[in-house]
Symmetry: C2
């Protein structure tokens, strides 16, 4: 079921508890932080790996929002959305995090639009560069099974368990970008 | 030396590297995340402990900014600043983090002012409650030695090594609150 407000902390703890009961072991502290933080994920990855984190763009395209996407982004059906699939990674290494993002194009400031839609810069760094004030709402936290794209990104097999979350970065009371991140349950242990 | 812009990621990594060289061992992943995150620290503590985090206020007073403080807060000398010393902790437990904060009073929206200066609500929760869009600039990351107040807060002895950082939460291009957090180097291992 699609949510339309951010999760409260007790809902996030409940989601983690449900995952831990289902898989039969506890998530690591870093996994739990990555699933719940409202701060920059790129920064966390850079601090953990002590290396720069870059993005490798796999898909970048403009799509027309269907009804579900429009509802999730709080825009009108048919409006343009920049859809991107990227790997967050250290240079010359495999993916750390697999991410999809949806950016409504209407009303987007031009300099932000350029960085958000064309350059290979992680969103956290774009926000810092432009000194953009935001808040982040975590919309869901769950497990998923690795698909073909994830098998290519990580050292996992088809169907392997992954941790995943959806969140919105909100700026001037509008969704600037909706992000889905996923990483193998065997990462960040 | 006082800094007037946020640290870049390579400066944060360098600060952590310097600490690790000085103390002779590596900081834990959670310690590094707590020192560098631009997200809610309260949320991280709640996710790690799986319990609510509350604040226990030790000092709450209005002070007049001296020249140094005025410069750090980008206000005029003599302006009112709400100064607070708090423990972030699980209910009925010892402190997890010792925090000092400075909030310039001028121009502060009344409902935010009430929560920021009177109620025992962690700043991260106040921002969520009021849907305040912000960005956070980390100003310094260093070690300090435990003083008398910290000995009372934690299971540490006078002079024991603590990890500490200063950061500013910025809203509408002004410093909403300047925060100094500290925790024992023996915590979050």
């Amino acid at each position: 079921m699609q949510r339309f407000r951010g999760m409260k902390i007790d809902e996030m703890l409940k989601a983690i508890d449900n995952i831990e009961k289902r898989i039969g072991f506890n998530l690591s502290d870093v996994q739990k932080i990555l699933l719940t933080t409202d701060g920059s994920v790129t920064r966390i990855l850079e601090v953990l790996t002590k290396k720069p984190v870059v993005i490798e763009t796999k898909v970048k395209t403009i799509i027309k929002a269907d009804e579900d996407l429009a509802r999730a982004l709080k825009i009108k059906s048919g409006e343009d959305v920049n859809f991107r699939v990227v790997h967050l990674k250290n240079p010359d290494d495999r993916a750390l995090i697999f991410a999809k993002s949806w950016t409504p194009m209407k009303g987007l400031n031009n300099s932000i639009k350029k960085d958000l839609t064309s350059a290979d810069i992680p969103i956290g760094k774009i926000l810092i560069k432009h000194k953009i004030e935001t808040r982040r709402e975590i919309m869901s936290i769950d497990t998923i099974n690795a698909d073909d794209e994830m098998v290519k990104a990580f050292d996992v097999k088809l169907g392997d368990l992954m941790l995943s979350r959806y969140y919105n970065i909100i700026h001037e009371a509008k969704i600037l970008i909706r992000i889905n991140e996923a990483f193998p349950i065997s990462s960040f242990l």
